[in-house]
């Protein structure tokens, strides 16, 4: 159904695509659609939950050192996304052009951020540092992701992410040193 939804949204626009139409294209009834997705928007976001787990799992799977673990977590997500650039770009374009979807995305990203923060505080990192680090990590990821989907000549997300991390590291380093 996700596939069907993405196609129809892209072709006819989000508002003009009814839940029934998506269901029909996926050969189920509207009722079934709403059994899988709590609402029409969610059909574009439920994959996000998997990524959230990936993110926090990768964070925990290795040394509990913030400056090392956060990049590791971001890389894990990047690796998962890497082979799906086409559809992710399509999805991003859609979300960017429909306020209703953009709002939902913000909500999801905030949940991710909180999730990272909670994991870090679980390690003993103080609340403020944890929250700040998580916010920065997400900002870095968004920056890299945005460039990735906008990029004409398919650079790898992992590379863009690496550059962004390094850039922040340098800024941070200069500022601190």
């Amino acid at each position: 159904m996700q596939q069907a939804a993405l196609e129809l949204f892209t072709r006819d626009g989000y508002a003009a695509t009814t839940a029934a139409a998506i269901a029909a294209r996926a050969d189920v009834t509207e009722r079934t659609f709403f059994r899988y997705f709590p609402d029409k928007r969610e059909v574009l976001f439920d994959d996000g939950q998997r990524l959230e787990h990936l993110l926090t799992d990768a964070l925990d799977a290795g040394p509990h050192v913030v400056a090392e673990a956060l990049p590791r977590a971001l890389r894990a997500v990047a690796a998962d996304m890497e082979p799906r650039r086409k559809s992710l770009a399509q999805r991003a374009a859609l979300i960017g052009s429909v306020p209703e979807l953009a709002e939902r995305e913000l909500g999801k990203l905030q949940v991710w951020t909180r999730s990272l923060t909670r994991t870090l505080t679980g390690w003993g990192v103080d609340e403020l540092s944890a929250a700040a680090s998580a916010e920065v990590a997400m900002a870095v990821f968004r920056a890299a992701f945005t460039r990735w989907v906008a990029d004409g000549e398919s650079r790898k997300l992992g590379d863009l992410l690496g550059e962004a991390v390094t850039a922040v590291g340098l800024q941070w380093g200069i500022a601190e040193g």
Copy 2:
């Protein structure tokens, strides 16, 4: 209607309050309600547009120096909110407990952030610095606001804001110097 809506949402819950009920309490029809507010959530947010103008106007109304203008803008908004603590706290509690509303709030805050960023770039500030400064300003404001509405013994929002600004200034100063 805003008043009616806030009361009903608080008393019966957001989901359980129909648009028709709000309209009825304000002695208008449902149709009129939707002429003033594009959707049910917006009844809690339309005041935000006024604040957004206040924010950017205050930013421009004085020396175009980022480190001075941003605090000035935040203070202007704080001054406007100061006498309305009760209802703002009520509103904040509501928004915090209804995901649907929390999403909308995130969207609005992002708009404010972009609005600040645009004003700053209009002064010749480079895109990255402008965006970063705007994000920090909003984060500071949110931190102060959160403490303000949670605070039992009514400290002034302006004061909390001042402390938050100073705290960030110090951190920043130490980091840079």
